[in-house]
Symmetry: C2
Subunit: 243 residues, 2 copies
């Protein structure tokens, strides 16, 4: 029943809910984000969102076709917020690092939205702006077109993929998260050296390293590789790929 949603242009009445709240798409998106932030990803359901807004759950269907539609609106808002104040500095490595960290942080701030929207191409204004910016940094650094596109693709996917991965981790119920830490401490921390020599030899590092996100490390490795590639390109060897 998609005629339930009235296109923004046709909206005119601002009738308040029983509890005196005047709804709008913006208010709903903002409230949803606040709900996720304050009470965790599990707190976002149509019913809870309705309660938080002071409105009947079914009212939301006057503004969004279904929950997926709502999630996309949230994702769009997220992209906007993440890159709102970014400006290139001219140092391509620093610029890429900053962009990557911002995208990752933006995803982590709103786990559920990140998981749902990571694999989507929206073709909307914010996304287009991001593509243009990143390609600009790479081409400005000296990567020729095809190479810039290849690196762009890997870079964006890495940021989105790690964002979604780490988001899924933070979206876990608290009990499950503690269980994971426990697994590293007890299961992996106590394997005998005879059967699992490498795990036993690095157990201490495993326990401490595995609880944080590996994105910063992966990003640094990415930047290292990109710089290596650029150097080989400048050195004139057409083939920068390891065989």
């Amino acid at each position: 029943m998609s005629d339930r949603v009235v296109p923004p242009a046709a909206r005119r009445r601002r009738r308040p809910t029983k509890q005196g709240v005047v709804l709008s798409a913006e208010l709903i998106v903002d409230t949803a984000l606040r709900l996720i932030e304050e009470h965790g990803a599990d707190a976002l359901s149509v019913r809870r969102l309705g309660r938080a807004l002071g409105a009947d759950p079914s009212s939301l269907y006057r503004y969004f076709r279904d929950t997926d539609d709502l999630m996309l609106a949230i994702a769009d808002e997220l992209i906007g917020r993440a890159l709102r104040s970014w400006r290139p500095t001219g140092d391509w490595t620093a610029d890429l690092r900053e962009l990557g960290l911002r995208m990752h942080a933006g995803a982590l701030a709103h786990p559920r939205a990140a998981v749902l929207s990571a694999h989507r191409v929206t073709g909307r204004a914010h996304e287009i702006q991001a593509v243009e910016s990143i390609l600009g940094v790479l081409r400005g650094a000296g990567f020729p077109g095809p190479e810039a596109v290849r690196i762009y693709h890997a870079f964006v996917d890495q940021a989105l993929a790690f964002g979604a991965l780490d988001s899924a981790g933070t979206a876990l119920p608290r009990a499950a998260r503690e269980a994971e830490a426990q697994v590293w401490r007890t299961t992996y921390g106590r394997l005998p050296a005879e059967t699992h020599p490498h795990i036993a030899a690095t157990a201490g590092h495993l326990v401490t390293t595995m609880r944080a996100s590996s994105y910063p490390a992966a990003l640094e490795l990415f930047l290292t590789a990109a710089r290596t590639r650029l150097e080989r390109l400048r050195a004139g060897t057409g083939d920068a790929r390891p065989h």
Copy 2:
């Protein structure tokens, strides 16, 4: 109510269900994987799984504490299948490449399961074996303990993250996938050079490059960076990090 689950050692009775099926943890996991493959991740619910097995939904709680417990078992089974026949060759770069591609391929083979389980630490047999193998390759290559762990973490997360990302893409309904391709062709392919010079300059490459997975490229970049790091370590400079 965790005393509902009987530890494997204490199991003795093989009482069939009303429909004549003899349950077991293995049968449940296999059926869950089949269900996910055939009907999508949304098709996996305790009730549907029970129906597919020919058993009451609540029977599953004799084998798994909750759905999360079941997901971990599924994830571990996937890891096991992916690495079943892998053997190290002694060439650490080639070994890592092979491991990465296998994990990624394994995720793509079970897209819906991969999306659900990519971010979990199972602490079960297959996963432990995988950790030991990868750490073995890295330490064998000459990476000292802490560095090996850091690289291990980034490597595994990258394989899992890209696996989940690409899986999510293939799991989309056909209509949505075609819509995405359309977006690249029309929206991005037709932006004017005045407003979006970098996109316009690389439009052709964008359209062709963006439809394939970027994991192979990202993996090569990763290996390049790892080799660079190792060389710097061997050269004796303690700090292998770009400043």
